[in-house]
């Protein structure tokens, strides 16, 4: 509601929160009229009832434009492993690359780690787990990925829902180039499982 300074303040506050800590978690029952302006509400399917509010910036006005205008983007820690882990999660959780990418499906973290291992190439076990766990934490914190550590499951985060049609075309090609997850997830030890 333009002209209403209270609503404008609520909107500013919500955008500031999303700016500092990423997508905002809200109750799925939140009525549409009380949502901050310019934000998209995404509800995860099933069980726990989790909804997210993500700011909707035109794709021509977000960080991906920086390279085109010759400016550097935000710094990312361990960019290679982080990108490979996101690719592994995408491969495991986007069950049908002809369908929408979000919400996708839940995958076991063991399955995701196996694909991550295929993408990164041979490393010793400890180094593999260390880099995988670090990458999952970074991606989970930034809401690219949701990692349920106690349950040992991974799914794509609310940010993935904002990929544009052009992004998805590129990601579909990437998806096809990544090795498929192992057929029997139980054959792969879970991240926190006992050593055999």
């Amino acid at each position: 509601v333009t002209g209403d300074s209270g609503a404008a303040e609520d909107t500013a506050l919500a955008w500031a929160r999303a700016r500092s800590s990423g997508p905002l978690r809200v109750s799925p029952g939140t009525p549409a009229r009380s949502l901050p302006a310019g934000m998209l509400k995404l509800t995860e399917p099933g069980d726990a009832g989790v909804s997210w509010l993500v700011p909707q910036v035109p794709t021509d006005a977000d960080a991906r434009v920086l390279a085109e205008i010759g400016l550097s983007g935000p710094l990312l820690e361990q960019p290679n492993d982080t990108a490979r882990m996101l690719a592994a999660v995408l491969r495991c959780c986007w069950a049908d690359p002809l369908g929408p990418v979000w919400p996708g499906v839940r995958a076991g973290s063991g399955t995701v780690l196996a694909v991550f291992g295929e993408v990164t190439g041979p490393r010793d076990d400890a180094a593999h787990r260390r880099s995988a766990v670090a990458a999952l934490r970074r991606l989970d914190q930034a809401a690219w990925v949701r990692w349920d550590e106690p349950a040992g499951t991974v799914r794509l985060g609310p940010r993935a829902a904002l990929w544009s049609g052009g992004d998805l075309t590129m990601l579909r090609q990437l998806w096809r180039s990544i090795p498929a997850p192992p057929a029997a997830p139980s054959a792969v030890p879970p991240v926190r499982g006992p050593r055999r």
């Binding site: 506050l13 955008w15 310019g38 035109p58 434009v65 400016l71 983007g73």
Partner: protein, 79 residues
Amino acid sequence: VTSFFDPVLTDLPERHRDEVLAAFAAVENSPEPAPEAVALRDATLRRSVEEMLNLTGRTLVRAGAGRWTSGYGTTSSPG
């Protein structure tokens, strides 16, 4: 395409709209202040960038000669 920023964007010619969007991306996402290239040199286009920022509670900040960034500040509320 989002309706949220439409009040600022709809009246702009396409070429100007692209420049305003790029300038918004630059000041909002670049770790360094953005150079005055893009839409920031032209006072009218810069005003549109500022209006986009104001909608989200932010404001345009001059960061030295010919360089701009965005931040929080005292600004007239939109509308």
